[in-house]
């Protein structure tokens, strides 16, 4: 039996580079962020009660729900994992390329690495699309009208503000510069379908993206990014997020950074999994809310 969502939650690290990076970025977000890694704590928080018998029942129901594939909670986690694996693989390659670029014999290795901006943009768009797909997997299509659905999406993103801030800073501003959100559509227009197929996450997600064929998927990605950019732009300007500020926020927890923004982005890609970490926490909360309502 695969691991349940709450088991995944309990296995999350208490203190490592990922947690430090998130803690750093959360200083930019009002309300902050607590690293919940205990299922019991989460259940108590949702239920507003410490009754051990109720906690046990909620836990049991939550495990049952996360094992049922049709409910989508586990599926959302697989999405996050796929994206995370891809991010780490690409990040690792780029770290290698950075090191290898300095060594004369293996310099040619840099030719094989996906270091250009187009691919970074494609990677970001995959993350955004994964976010939307995971949202529908976890929450269904809540409400009866599009306005209800929009409100529900806004509610979800406000709950996951730190998650969104990390996405905007680590995957847009640091690697692509402060104008990233405005340039994104242009960059995505340049992505060719064979480049898309280079991304490991795409291979894992292709079956879940609506439409047939790479071109259809690409247009879905562009449309979902288009919607997200409108929201993300407002979010970034409201919090005053920029590459410079996010580096400074990160330095408060990780330590001083002397390299360029792009190197920092590569470093974060290769050595942290902020996306999957916060993803597990977001899914676990929704799961526990449902389980608490059903016991």
């Amino acid at each position: 039996m695969s691991t349940t969502v709450l088991e995944r939650l309990e296995r999350l690290p208490h203190r490592n580079l990922t947690v430090l990076a998130l803690r750093g970025i959360s200083t930019l977000v009002p309300g902050g962020w607590t690293n919940i890694t205990s299922a019991e704590e989460l259940i108590h928080d949702v239920l507003g009660s410490n009754d051990p018998e109720l906690t046990r029942q909620v836990r049991e129901r939550a495990d049952e729900l996360s094992r049922a594939r049709h409910e989508g909670y586990a599926r959302a986690l697989s999405l996050y994992d796929a994206v995370n694996r891809s991010q780490k693989a690409a990040g690792g390659l780029r770290v290698l390329a950075n090191v290898a670029g300095a060594l004369p014999l293996v310099k040619r290795l840099t030719l094989f690495t996906p270091a250009n901006e187009t691919l970074q943009a494609a990677d970001l768009s995959l993350k955004v699309a994964a976010e939307m797909l995971a949202f529908t997997q976890v929450n269904g299509l809540p409400g009866d009208s599009f306005a209800d659905f929009g409100a529900s999406l806004a509610e979800y993103t406000s709950e996951a503000r730190v998650r969104m801030a990390a996405l905007v800073c680590f995957d847009a501003f640091l690697p692509l510069g402060d104008q990233a959100l405005h340039r994104l559509d242009g960059l995505l227009g340049r992505v060719a379908s064979h480049e898309l197929r280079q991304l490991p996450a795409y291979v894992g997600m292709a079956g879940l993206i609506p439409g047939r064929g790479d071109q259809a998927h690409l247009s879905f990605l562009r449309r979902s990014v288009d919607q997200w950019v409108g929201w993300a732009d407002g979010f970034a300007s409201q919090l005053g997020l920029t590459g410079q500020r996010s580096v400074r926020a990160l330095e408060t927890t990780i330590g001083p950074w002397h390299g360029g923004f792009e190197q920092l982005a590569i470093f974060l890609d290769a050595f942290t999994d902020t996306y999957a970490h916060t993803g597990v926490q977001a899914v676990a909360r929704r799961l526990v809310e449902r389980a608490a309502a059903e016991i």
């Binding site: 695969s2 949702v46 239920l47 507003g48 009660s49 009754d51 109720l54 129901r61 049952e64 729900l65 094992r67 049922a68 594939r69 049709h70 409910e71 989508g72 586990a74 599926r75 697989s78 994992d81 796929a82 529908t136 976890v138 929450n139 269904g140 299509l141 809540p142 409400g143 009866d144 009208s145 599009f146 306005a147 209800d148 659905f149 409100a151 529900s152 509610e155 979800y156 894992g204 079956g207 929704r286 809310e289 449902r290 608490a292 309502a293 059903e294 016991i295």
Partner: protein, 236 residues
């Protein structure tokens, strides 16, 4: 060992590993099979039908739907930015164990059995089939406030949702419905406004019509996908 044999063995090993990886590693959770409590989808009321039965928000409050699945719908009652309560309706067909706690219940609300769970949640079993629950969040709600919210759900319409496919609970539901009609308007002052606000999207109807259609189409597509997986499922 001949060269050909060693190549053959090597290829066999690689093929075995690839096939093993395909079945065991990341794809296992994507294979069809298994629902909650193995109940076929058609026996469970869809969450879409439950949305319109939620209480209408009062002045300064906002109702944000957060989850909608088969047999389940949940919304947050917000006041400003603060979440006051989680409101939900679930079909106990997919969680039979939750029905048991109502058998020992002494109190009723609108004729339906009422149960308190812990300090912050109250649950009501309507028509022996739907569990309506209010869970206080943040600063919390008093039991009276929770009961008032429970009474503000459209319980009568909810009881009427119980289809003929579950005949054993129908005889119980019917005699209780008339008494409910008399009682429920008294439970919450704002309830008089309910028929008007039960469908909040009705007033800006014409402009939102196309997007509502889009959502309906999306939902139909999802339902079709569900059917597909149900066909693939050997257990169903």
């Amino acid at each position: 060992m001949s060269r050909r044999l060693s190549w053959g063995l090597g290829l066999l090993l690689v093929a075995g590993l690839v096939i093993g990886a395909f079945f065991v590693l990341p794809f296992r959770s994507w294979l069809p099979g298994g629902t909650v409590a193995d109940v076929p989808n058609r026996l469970v009321v869809n969450g879409t039908a439950l949305n319109r039965l939620f209480p209408a928000p009062q002045l300064g409050e906002k109702l944000v739907f957060t989850q909608e699945k088969r047999g389940f719908s949940q919304a947050r009652l917000k006041q400003g930015d603060e979440v006051r309560a989680l409101l939900s309706i679930s079909d106990v067909t997919s969680s039979p164990a939750s029905r048991a706690k109502f058998s020992g219940s002494g109190s009723t609300l609108g004729g339906w059995p009422l149960v308190e769970q812990g300090d912050q949640s109250s649950a009501l079993l309507v028509a022996d089939r739907f569990q309506v629950k209010v869970i206080g969040q943040g600063a919390g709600l008093s039991p009276d406030e929770r009961h008032e919210l429970l009474g503000a759900f459209n319980l009568q319409a909810l009881a009427a949702l119980n289809p003929a496919s579950a005949p054993k609970s129908l005889p119980q539901a019917k005699p209780q419905a008339p008494s409910l009609a008399g009682q429920s308007p008294a439970t919450r002052s704002s309830l008089a406004a309910q028929p008007l606000v039960a469908q909040p999207s009705a007033s800006p109807g014409s402009p939102t019509q196309p997007s509502a259609n889009m959502l309906a189409a999306l939902k139909a597509a999802r339902a079709a996908a569900h059917r597909e997986t149900a066909v693939l499922t050997p257990a169903a």
